[in-house]
């Protein structure tokens, strides 16, 4: 797969179809691969693909420093590809001005990431070029929410204690926000200071406000790549919050973010058939 990836990327750069490849490089074999930006055909040998390519590179698509490099080709896994669908639907990217290279994937991370256990996108969808082979099979929805279901067997008090203990550790480094492909707001609500919307200090109260606000802002938008959870240096299991809102969107509206480029985004649409009366 790596050889084919090199070949494809070399052709893209040589033909001038793209100016930069957003991919994975691995200088030190002892360390996991990291994001790289390849701009010349001679450098494509530096691209790697293996089951430690955990980062979701689509977060770079909206960054001005990366946009300045020119038309990109981006390497995605099945889970990552869903972010591109959402970014396109939310008019954050020009899908026709990029080449999306999908890598067939049977799971990443050591140990395997939690999301991989219920993956139904081993073969990336809505990409321009697919490399490798894998089989994507439908997954029972409840399996996707397995971690949440286990968590919800606890009492309300137990769950509040859990979140208190988790969120107390948050120091507001905003790694969750910065690594997230869908946290692209130019001025995040957490950075608003005229007036301050909620405590910017990492107090427990402020931390609750921050993480709940973020989860709600990602409701029906989060594609479940779990990058926030991976990036959190305090080991806060943000995945549970995201699963909770994702399930609400799926149960109430039959909607999963980033699957169908034509689907109306659940937050950006309404129906007169809505069971709530305020909509009519």
């Amino acid at each position: 797969m790596t050889k084919q990836l090199h070949k494809v990327c070399r052709e893209l750069l040589e033909s001038g179809k793209v100016q930069v490849i957003i991919g994975y490089g691995q200088k030190d074999r002892g360390q996991p691969p990291h994001p790289v930006f390849i701009t010349s055909p001679e450098e494509v040998e530096g691209l790697v693909w293996n089951d430690q390519c955990v980062a979701n590179l689509t977060t770079y698509l909206t960054r001005k420093e990366i946009r300045a490099l020119g038309k990109p080709a981006i390497i995605v896994k099945g889970c990552d590809a869903r972010a591109i669908v959402v970014l396109q639907r939310e008019s954050q990217i020009d899908r026709s001005a990029m080449v999306v290279i999908g890598m067939a994937c049977n799971g990443v991370g050591e140990p395997r990431l939690a999301k991989c256990a219920a993956c139904d996108a081993h073969v990336p969808a809505h990409v321009d070029i697919t490399i490798g082979e894998a089989v994507s099979e439908p997954v029972d929805p409840e399996r996707r929410y397995n971690d949440l279901n286990v968590f919800m067997t606890q009492s309300t008090d137990e769950r509040m204690d859990y979140w208190q203990d988790e969120l107390e550790r948050c120091v507001r480094c905003y790694a969750c926000r910065q690594v997230c492909p869908l946290c692209y707001c130019e001025r995040c609500v957490a950075d608003k200071n005229r007036p301050v919307r909620f405590s910017t200090a990492p107090t427990l109260k402020g931390n609750y406000a921050w993480h709940i606000t973020r989860a709600f802002h990602l409701a029906g938008r989060c594609i479940g790549c779990d990058e926030c959870t991976r990036a959190c240096p305090a080991g806060i299991n943000l995945r549970l919050l995201n699963l909770s809102v994702a399930r609400a969107a799926e149960n109430a509206f039959g909607y999963r973010a980033g699957l169908d480029p034509e689907a109306e985004p659940v937050i950006g649409s309404f129906s007169t058939q809505d069971k709530e009366s305020f909509i009519k």
């Binding site: 994001p35 977060t59 790694a175 200071n193 910017t200």
Partner: protein
């Protein structure tokens, strides 16, 4: 001769300190995999050995992530201020790694420079630091490259050395350290050993030479473009100490707080006009390296890094001090190589 102590005595001491109302901070598990320094409730939360180091630092115990500076109340034209209560509990940082303790004498400079920070200094005077010499290291550790080592004594009041079988040699360096262990130690002939420490892989002279001349080098762009601009490196760094000041107001009363801040965040340098002198992420990465290896040493005579490696340990995109400094060294080596080659070429022509 040496002095030793049993692990059970140590654990009892920790429980006694907590029972006496002292605050004890040390490393322990959070969940199943992550090890962090936290305030301890019982000694069985402590995790002493068999891992390189926690993923955060002990600075939280002296310079907390958020802190009240004073309270205010606004009543028409009248503003009433009241000082925040200064901490007064004795605190013991237990089983810290030497690369954490070494940060304290370094931080002392900046918290006592143009202004004596009352909060930091109060906590510093209330704190006793007991370190555990390192047996293990991982690929991120680089203390030996920045003047430290597995038994670096800087900042420690006492240091433990694992002897195996739940026994520790204790070396007390300060009166605080001696007072803590008074009457608890047994004489012995056993002397603790430390692990080899990480291989020395950075040459700071080479790095500083580069920094003197290459503020505008394309290396910064090339090497740090992938930085996503979070504060994970800074907030888990034992020496990063920047903070922001905000007002937390409810109605007409509130508190003025200070909270950790990081030069990696875009907001850090935004002017009131909206102009941002560090508008691009590579400029912010460059700042972090310059502050640690050029600005702080020029001002205070010490580099702002103890080689703990937390920056690269927690970075979601594989950056941190070592990847950047390694790239600088490679750049310098390539230049030296080119220089030598040109030199050789000239000699050939001369002949």
């Amino acid at each position: 001769m040496s002095t030793i102590i049993g692990g059970q005595v140590l654990r009892d001491m920790v429980n006694d300190w907590i029972g006496d109302g002292k605050r004890v901070g040390g490393p322990g598990y959070v969940g199943n995999h992550l090890i962090l320094y936290r305030w301890l409730h019982r000694s069985d939360e402590l995790l002493l050995e068999s891992y390189p180091r926690p993923h955060n630092s002990i600075k939280e115990f002296l310079f907390p992530s958020h802190e009240k500076l004073y309270h205010y109340k606004i009543d028409g034209q009248h503003i009433e201020l009241s000082e925040a209560v200064l901490p007064d509990a004795q605190q013991i940082i237990f089983a810290a790694r030497p690369c954490d303790a070494a940060s304290l004498p370094i931080l002392d400079h900046v918290f006592n420079w143009d202004y004596r920070d009352v909060f930091y200094n109060r906590r510093r005077s209330l704190t006793t630091v007991v370190t555990l010499a390192c047996q293990d290291h991982d690929a991120h550790c680089f203390c030996t490259s920045v003047g430290g080592g597995p038994d670096d004594e800087r900042g420690s009041d006492a240091m433990l050395f694992a002897l195996g079988q739940d026994q520790y040699e204790v070396r007390c360096f300060t009166d605080k350290g001696k007072a803590l262990f008074e009457g608890k130690l047994e004489e012995s002939t056993r002397v603790g050993k430390v692990g080899p420490g990480p291989e020395r892989r950075l040459d700071l002279e080479t790095v500083r030479e580069f920094l003197k001349t290459d503020f505008e080098s394309p290396l910064w762009e090339r090497q740090t473009l992938r930085c996503i601009g979070c504060g994970a490196c800074a907030y888990n760094c034992p020496t990063c100490h920047c903070f922001d000041i905000t007002d937390e107001k409810v109605g007409s009363a509130g508190v003025r707080m200070r909270s950790w801040d990081s030069c990696q965040m875009a907001m850090f340098t935004v002017h009131a006009s909206g102009h941002n002198p560090r508008s691009r992420q590579p400029q912010r990465q460059r700042q972090r390296i310059y502050h640690k290896f050029e600005i702080y040493p020029s001002k205070f005579g010490e580099i702002l890094c103890t080689g703990c490696g937390n920056c690269s340990r927690v970075c979601p995109v594989g950056l941190g001090i070592t990847p950047v400094l390694t790239a600088i060294q490679e750049e310098q080596a390539a230049r030296a190589g080119t220089g030598a080659a040109q030199e050789a070429g000239r000699e050939k022509v001369d002949q």
